[in-house]
Structure formats: C-alpha cells, structure tokens
C-alpha cells in the first residue's frame, strides 16, 4: 500500500539571472487508491508539479515520498510510475502490441509473458483487434487507450496523467473518462491527474486540488470546491459559466449586516461574526450565474439590457449589459431575452464574500 506525499515542494527555474518560481512550496497527499485532480489555468505550475512527482523534473525544495520511500532524488526509471502524456507519444515505428510491451521488454520479461500481459490489458480496454496495427492507423481516442494499456501492463505503484485528453474532441473525452476511471480503480494505486478542464476534474476525481500561480488554493471534493470555494480564484475557476464578481461594501448596524454594491443594498443572512472586521470596508462579492434572477425591472433589480442568449437545451446562458459590465445569468430553457430591458436580482443567500486583498473567502 502506497500513498504519495508532497511536502513543501518548490520548483524554481533559472532564466539567466531571473528566477521564475513555478511551484511555490505546496503540500499534497494522495491516499492509496485515491484519484486526485490537479486543476488550474495554464502556467499555474500543475504540470511542473506532476513532472516532479514523475521524476522528469527535480524540485528545488521539499520532498516527495511514495509510501515510506523518499523518491525526491530518484530518477524516473526507478519510480515505477505510469504516465500518460498530452501528446500521446506512441512509437510510430512499433506496432500497437510492441508499443504496449515495450516497458516489459525493458524489464526483461520473456516474449510470451510480455504478449500475454498485453492481451490481458487489451481486452480490458477493448482494443484487442487493434494490436497488430501501427499507431498511426488509430484514431486519437484509440491511441490514448493504447497509451493507457502501455501503462497498466506494468502494474505501476503511482498513476500520473498529464492532460491526456486535451487534444481529443468532446465526445471522445466523455467516452474515455469512464475507461480511465475503471482502469485506475482496477489498479488501485494513487492517481494524480493534471488538467485545465474543470469538467474532467469535477467528473472523475475523489478530490480536486485547485492550483494558481504556484500555490494550492484549495483541496477538496468536487462538491466542496464548487459550493464552498476557499478563495475568490477557486470560485471563479470552478463552475460554468463563471462566477460573477462585484465590488461591494459591508455595512453593519440595525437589523443585521447589509451588503452594498453601489447603490444596491442587500440584507445578509445571519452571520457568525466573520464580517466583523469588514464593517465599512470594501469586499469582493461573488455570485454564481445560477443564483441571479431576472425580472422585468420593476422590483428594483440592477437595470440590465439583454444582449444575447445561448440556448443549451436544458438551460440558457443569457448575457446582459449593466453598469457593472457584462453579466451572465443562467436562465430557464424557455427564456428569450429579445434585447429588452430587465432587472437582475442577486440572491444574497448564495453570495460568497472574499477579502479584496488576499482573495480568501470571508463568508
């Protein structure tokens, strides 16, 4: 039984005299059999983190442990990991069968044993009839299945994914996701899955680690990071369409705490004193487009001019032009704005408040 423990790990790149900190002291533990997704915008350091765990890169600080083994200095060859790459990296000069068997060949297994294991993996992945083809003859989705098969024939102790689906189209992604989950569950080792696609992260993970600018913003279950974001960044990054942000001000006083956004006033539900330090201070307000209501404008909502609708079938994304700029609202499937005037109503119940300087969630 193995878990992966990343402790205070940093990676600083040297560019001439400049130092670029890609990963800035992160801590993360992946339990045995746990599927953890590292998600974040491009350049946030997630791939660097994964490459350090894989051994393709070396951290400049901190340690990485697999179980009770410190692997920080261990070369990639000795880490016994599996890694799926974004550019699938099947060898064009080998058949699918030999691609999958290559690791076993390096390990010195006999030919019969190699091919027996390949057949096993192939039947699990339903690519048995592709084994004698050349990788170039396969579709992108099938190629990634082969790459998956190449990884599992060796029964790795840690499974890593580096945005393996970002070059595939949406339908293939959906087809492949359950395959990845099935395969990793079968092997039952810790999984670190790097992606910039929050949908992938939400649907596949036991826990999601949201990364930004070299830091971990939040680590938690998919529902937790969605409903209970720890920072403004997480709130903005997770969820579609993205959370709408406003600059507001907290006003204490008679009848509870109030939130002011420009001239609009919202009574906040009972708080437990989290806002005490923010009285009369400015604050960032995040509201999900799902929690913004649309009415005809007579009830004092934010005046908004409808711009366009994106009907998605079961719901519609409607765009409005307001004094705060463009605001997206999730409306019902039958909503048709028709470029008319509306009032937008924010639901203070679901508003998330963030410290304007640190971005940390306040309430």
């Amino acid at each position: 039984m193995v878990d992966v423990r990343i402790r205070d790990m940093s990676r600083v790149f040297q560019d001439g005299d400049d130092e670029i900190t890609a990963v800035d002291g992160i801590d993360l533990t992946i339990e045995d059999g746990e599927f953890v997704t590292l998600v974040g915008p491009s350049g946030c350091g997630k791939t660097t983190t994964l490459r350090c765990v894989a051994g393709l890169d070396k951290p400049t600080g901190g340690t990485i442990e697999f179980g009770d083994r410190d692997v920080t200095e261990l070369p990639v060859q000795q880490r016994d990991i599996a890694l799926l790459f974004q550019d699938i990296a099947l060898y064009p000069h080998m058949s699918v069968r030999d691609n999958m068997a290559y690791g076993l060949k390096i390990a010195g297994l006999s030919k019969e044993e190699r091919y027996r294991r390949v057949e096993e993996a192939a039947s699990l992945l339903q690519i048995t009839d592709q084994l004698d083809k050349s990788p170039a003859a396969l579709s992108g989705g099938q190629q990634q299945r082969v790459a998956l098969g190449r990884s599992i024939v060796r029964d790795p102790t840690v499974f890593l994914f580096d945005e393996p689906m970002s070059d595939l189209d949406a339908k293939l992604k959906r087809d492949l996701r359950p395959v990845v989950q099935q395969v990793t569950r079968e092997i039952g080792c810790p999984v670190l899955y790097v992606t910039h696609d929050q949908e992938e992260a939400m649907t596949m993970s036991d826990r999601i680690a949201v990364m930004n600018d070299g830091h971990l913003e939040q680590v938690g279950g998919p529902k937790e990071v969605y409903t209970d974001p720890a920072t403004e960044f997480v709130s903005g990054f997770i969820g579609q369409p993205t959370t709408q942000f406003f600059d507001g001000r907290v006003r204490g006083g008679d009848g509870g705490t109030h939130l002011e956004i420009e001239e609009y006033d919202f009574a906040l539900p009972g708080t437990n004193g989290e806002l005490d330090g923010y009285a009369s201070e400015s604050i960032r307000v995040g509201v999900r487009p799902q929690n913004i209501g649309v009415d005809d404008g007579s009830k004092g909502g934010i005046p908004a001019e409808h711009v366009l609708d994106e009907p998605l079938g079961d719901e519609t994304h409607s765009f409005f032009e307001t004094e705060f700029g463009e605001i997206v609202v999730v409306t019902g499937p039958d909503f048709e704005g028709g470029q008319r005037e509306y009032g937008l109503v924010l639901d203070p119940e679901h508003a998330k408040l963030f410290d304007p300087d640190s971005g940390v969630r306040v309430a």
Binding site: A54, L56, P75, V76, Q77, Q78, D80, I81, A82, L83, F85, Q86, D87, I88, A89, Y91, P92, H93, Y102, G103, I106, A107, A147, R150, R154
Partner: protein, 307 residues
C-alpha cells in the same frame, strides 16, 4: 496578336526564373487558357533541357564505355557500332591499380559515412535534448566548418599527418572528410531531433528505459530520415573528394579513385578513354541510384533551415 503572345511568354517565363522581368501589364484581358498553355510549354521545354544536359554526358560516358579503343579513336560516333562494341572495358574495374583505387574509395567513403552518422547523431542528440551552457557559441563554431577549405587545411595537414604517421593512411582521410561533413550533419540531426516530441523519450523512461535505451529504441528509429540524409551527404562528400586525397594520400597504393586515375592519365600510363569511361561509369552509377531512390531525403536535408 504575335506581340501579345510574346508578352505572355515573358511573363510565364519569369516564373521559370530565367531572370527576365516580365511586365504584368500585358496580361490584362487575356484568356487564362493561352497564358496557361504557354506556361506549360515553357515548363516542359525547361524539363527537356535539363534532361538533355543532365543525361547527355552520362549517355556519352556509357556508350563510349562500351566501345573498343579503336572505335573511339575512329572519331565521334553517336552509337557503338556492331564491330566496335565490347564489354571488356569493364575488366579495368577488377584489375591493377584501378581496382585498388576503387577499393580505397569504397573504404574511405564507407568509413566517412559511418563516422559522420555516429558522431553527428550523438552531437545532435546532445544539442537537442540536453541543456548545457555555450550552445550558441557551439552553433557558431559548428557553422564555421563551412569555411573549411581542403586546400587551406590540407597543406599544413600534410606535414602534421606525416609527423604522426597518418599520411597515406585511409584513417587520416576519413577523419578529415568527417570533419568537413560535420556542420551539415550535426545541424541536420540537431534540428531533426528537436521535431520529435520529448514525451516519446520520457514515456520510455517512465517504463524504466535508461537514457541510452530510450535513445536506441525511440530516437534512432525515428531519426532515420535524417540519418539517411546525412549519410547521403557524407557519401557525396567522400565520393567526390579529390583535394584531400591528392595531398594526404600521395602514395599510389593508398590513394583513392580521383587522384589515382588522374595520376595514370598525366603520367601517360597505358590507359585509354574506353577504360576511363568504364571506370567513370562505375563512379557514376551509385550517385544515379541514390539520386533516384533517395531524392526526398536529399531535399529533406536542405529543408532544415539554415546550413
């Protein structure tokens, strides 16, 4: 009408690159078909001219290599006559000094090709995949190799080689020829290996392959086009070499075809045009075959920008 046609011709001709600058004004209002016909005519005429100038010397060499000495001395004739025809000229390839020269040329060429490919493959891999300082300086240093002139270098090398015993040695010539094939080959390998995704190798390391195993199993097979291209250029260089061999292989036993046969001619040995043409054919056929079957690699080699 005729002047209009001429205008079109010059326009189309400049696409053929004969240097005359056509004025595009004459083209207005002309049907595209006329334009296209003239253009195609010039294109095929160009191809015909290339074929004529390219093939005629080879044809001349071939047909005279099949004539007896007497038939050649009879004067210019366009085909071997029945009584003047012979295959015996080619016996020159398997006897005497010419055979020796051929053997030496083969050894030197093969040695140069192998050494060039090995050295440039390793250097190209290092430049493409390993990070180390002074790469830019090395790039300059590498390209400086294009300035290596056999005559400038051969002169001092003559006494140096003599001193360390490499004069008249095929190894000495192989080293010299490999050095001057370096700028092209290393640059080619460098740029080519850069086009192979790093994930290819990394995926091999992940499954336990060492750097060497990854290089052997993943990089080398995929670098094949560049290997063929650089082998081809090393071949062209070594097969073509005269100056280095003339200076560095002065003894008759050690020398290659080019200086050898020239020596035979200038020293007025018993050698005649029929034999020379047969020997020349033997030097020409491998390039002809390579040019036909490997031309895409030749182009590929030059496609990597900047040599």
């Amino acid at each position: 009408m005729s002047s209009e046609t001429a205008g079109t011709a010059s326009t189309a001709g400049s696409e053929g690159g004969d240097g005359s600058t056509g004025d595009s004004g004459g083209l207005l209002g002309r049907g595209f078909e006329t334009d296209d016909r003239v253009y195609r005519a010039l294109l095929y005429a160009s191809a015909a001219i290339f074929l004529l100038f390219g093939l005629f010397p080879v044809y001349w060499m071939a047909q005279n290599s099949l004539k007896t000495r007497e038939a050649i001395l009879d004067g210019v004739s366009w085909f071997p006559s029945a009584e003047g025809f012979t295959l015996s000229n080619y016996a020159v390839l398997t006897s005497g000094d010419i055979q020796l020269y051929f053997f030496n040329t083969l050894v030197v060429t093969m040695g140069t090709v192998i050494l060039t490919v090995v050295v440039s493959l390793i250097a190209g891999y290092g430049l493409a995949r390993l990070s180390f300082p002074y790469k830019e300086g090395f790039a300059r240093f590498l390209l400086f190799g294009y300035m290596f002139s056999p005559i400038v270098l051969g002169l001092p090398l003559y006494l140096i080689w003599q001193e360390i015993g490499l004069l008249n040695s095929r190894v000495g010539l192989i080293i010299a020829l490999t050095a001057i094939s370096m700028p092209f080959s290393v640059w080619l390998m460098w740029k080519y290996i850069q086009t192979i995704p790093e994930a290819m190798e990394e995926s091999a390391w992940v499954v336990g392959a060492s750097r060497w195993e990854g290089f052997r199993d993943v990089i080398i097979p995929q670098t094949q086009p560049a290997i063929i291209a650089s082998a081809l250029f090393a071949f062209a260089l070594a097969w073509n070499d005269f100056t280095f061999a003339q200076i560095l292989l002065p003894s008759n036993e050690a020398t290659t075809f080019a200086p050898g046969i020239l020596r035979q001619i200038t020293q007025g040995y018993d050698i005649a045009w029929n034999d020379i043409m047969a020997a020349s054919m033997a030097m020409t056929i491998p390039p002809l075959l390579f040019a036909y079957f490997l031309q895409s690699y030749l182009l590929q080699g030059f496609q990597i920008r900047s040599l």
